[in-house]
Amino acid sequence: MKGNFKKPVQFMLVLVIAFSMLLAACSSDNNKPTPSNNGGTNNGGETKAPQEFRFTIGSEPPSLDPALMTDAQSGIVASGLYEGLTRLNTKGEPENAIAKEIKASEDGKTYTITLREDAKWSNGDPVTAHDFEYAWKRSLNPETGSEYAYMLFYIENAEKFNSGEGTADEVGVKATGDYTLEVQLNSPAPYFPSLLAHYTYLPVHEGTVDGKPEWAAEANTIVSNGPFVLKQWVHADKLLLEKNPDYYNKDAINFDKVTISIVEDESTVFQLFETNKIDWIGAQAGSVPPDLTKKMIDEGRAEVTSVASVYYYLFNNNKVPFNNAKVRKAFSMSIDRQSLIDNVAQANQQPAYGLVPPSIAGPDGKMFREVYPDTGYFQENADEAKKLFEEGMAELGLTAFPEVTLLYNTSEGHKKLAEAVVDMWRKSLGVEVKLANQEWGTFLESRKAGQFDIARSGWGADINHPINFTFDLIHPKSGNNDGKYNNPKVEKLLDDSLVASSSEESMKMMAEAEKVAVSEDMGVLPTFYYTTVTMLKDGFEGVISDYSGHLDWVHGSKK
């Protein structure tokens, strides 16, 4: 039997079958573009070399439809593709963009916005007030499925329409002419011009969008109005943007071509930077690898910028022992934040004794933290902490510390921080806190349901205003107050801040509420304010990280 050889043809046949499927499928996918086959656009008679800016983002934008965007990656791409009524400048202040003039009424509830008349969509149509009215109402329409629709709830009857109770006509936004937009707000919002720069407030082109929800999923179906147009979108791989020759303010734009690659791995990003394939590294690119951060900062090659995000721990305020303010304070005071930053977090973060990060703007053109510093909210002091801890235990009538677990979402970074914090508690308070981690989705559910003693948390800003960190985190009715911190005094201060006579007065109340929540109650445990470590190739200017650490590249240039 063994010697039963047939022709070698049969053996070949086996190989052919084994690989035929593979080979067949191989030839079907040849739409892969070669890099740099599109030279820079030549503008006018100038012979200036085309300016290119290349960077990476850690994940693909889930959507480039303003109504559906929710994340930093989409926001960064969208800032090049679209232009809203305002745009934030490098200081984080709103400047007129499509808007020519923004007028607020006496009571601060009605805004009359005049639009510039020379702005065009990438298909040549003029950008009008109707486009904004359509876009906002579209986001609010429950059938659009917009996650960020609530960003528009400042507008009168917006929430009613979104909940299905009201109609689109009732919503307080109306194009009274082709270039005039009238907006009615529920209550005065001094930061409304900043809101107008947010991507949820971007316009869309009605003819392109209507009835075609998939319009923003491919490069060739997107119609935009910004300084750049999307030339190519290879999903999960890269996006290619080119300068929009019809942009009304094209002289202010220097880059001719922008290549955004999607690269997840931090050390790959770093190596791409070092081999001159990309020009920028920063938060949305996955940051500089932690083990290289210190070296890069010391060599002066990387820059640390503060970011409008705070890293904190939630106490379950309804559960023994953290229903006692003294115990909460003891836990917070026994953490050496600087040591945590220097030895564990290692990216020059700033110790947090409050909730509002230092890059958030405050009253009178100053930073919020300049006017209301958080350094006096409480002192780190192990002895004092121990004393408070014992008093708190006595108040609770406890002789032994109950079993307590610190919950965090699975990640090496969070784990290291949690271990360090638990170690500090062990040393100064003599308590043993257990650690538990959960996968992200499960973690979020446990946290929402209050199934924790202490839980890791982080919070970033949607807009450059302290309201992001006060209302959202310590107001008893906030859906993000997962530790269920509840102090009527804080609630009243925050509620009153909304109807305060001036922006200054309003911020003062927010600062007061923050102080009560942290200094008196320690409703949550702030640890540090995030930073972002960025690197930029020599010769580039105007490529910055904004207040929230997001890359702002649109007005950059290359020498």
Binding site: A18, M21, E147, Y150, T268
Partner: protein, 311 residues
């Protein structure tokens, strides 16, 4: 033969149905939802979204709807990558994974077979040891270690290759080595042990006595008889490798399908989880099926029993 194939096919469809059902139920059983986010969503918005994606309906309605769509070949749209259709996402990302996988498979078969042959022919001599040491090293270093090492030295430090991407033919080299190192080692060891056995068989002695040279014997007679386990392994290997590797794709920034497999679950992107699972299952079944047929062709003994097995 036809009945054998038909039987296998019916079995494939049935297993696929079971798999889809089980995945659907398990996926919905894990905590979390596609709408999860760190920021508490506004209640109104949350309700709208649930209605939008049909998540407010009871599970059996969702299941029924999914199956009805599936029968029409509609895998739905991703819940996270807005309005990208799942079939398109799979098709686009499968290309790079497939091309890379192919190159890794061809490399591992060629290199693995050569190493194995050398080892078998020089059984218990120096060359055998050298080949097997190479194989053991290949087995022992996981791609999660090998890939960054290759990348660091060959691309970053010495600049022979690009750090990431798959834009030029040369870009395939590093990821291919990283992907193929394990299979090379496995194939080499597999082939060596079978071939040692085959080389001792009577018909080889006959060939030798005819005066054929060692290489001709191995190439003509021994290799073919030693390939059987390798072909079996190829079925699994093909399925495993062309469906992408999360690690390699991440490190070399390859827009392949592997990362969707993990990311879709982290995101609870239900339609994408289902789409990828079905796709993987089909690939696995088809490659197994082809391996079965290859088996029958390569070994007449299998033909007889295979026919019987299918009744």
């Amino acid at each position: 033969m036809l009945r054998f194939i038909l039987g296998k096919f019916v079995f494939m469809v049935f297993s696929l149905f079971l798999l889809v059902t089980a995945t659907f139920l398990l996926m919905n059983a894990i905590p979390g939802s596609p709408l999860q986010s760190e920021k508490a969503p506004n209640e109104t918005v949350q309700k709208n979204l649930e209605a939008y994606y049909g998540l407010d309906k009871p599970l059996y309605v969702q299941y029924g709807k999914y199956m009805a769509n599936l029968l029409q070949g509609d895998l739905g749209i991703s819940m996270k990558k807005k309005f990208q259709s799942v079939d398109k996402m799979i098709a686009n990302s499968f290309g790079p994974s497939l091309r890379l996988g192919l190159s890794a498979i061809v490399t591992s078969v060629i290199v693995g077979c050569i190493l194995g042959m050398i080892a078998a022919m020089h059984h218990r001599k120096i060359l055998d040891n050298v080949a097997m040491i190479i194989a053991v090293i290949g087995m022992a270093i996981p791609s999660i270690v090998l890939a960054p090492l290759l990348q660091y030295y060959f691309a970053f430090k010495w600049g022979f290759f690009e750090v990431a991407g798959l834009n030029a033919p040369l870009d395939y080299v590093l990821p291919t080595i990283a992907l193929a190192s394990g299979p090379i080692a496995f194939i080499a060891r597999l082939l060596r042990s079978t071939m040692i056995e085959v080389l001792n068989a009577d018909f080889i002695k006959t060939a030798k006595s005819k005066g054929l040279s060692g290489y001709v014997i191995v190439a003509r007679h021994a290799l073919r008889n030693s390939m059987l386990p390798v072909v079996t392994y190829l079925g699994y290997l093909t399925a495993g490798i062309i469906t992408g590797s999360v690690v390699i794709e991440k490190i070399f920034a390859i827009p392949g399908i592997g990362k969707y497999f993990v990311q879709s679950i982290i995101d609870r992107d239900y339609p994408l989880i289902m789409g990828i699972t079905i796709f993987y299952a089909v690939i696995l079944m088809v490659t197994r099926f082809l391996a079965d047929i290859a088996y029958v062709l390569i070994d007449p003994r299998m033909r007889a029993s295979g026919g019987k097995g299918a009744k």
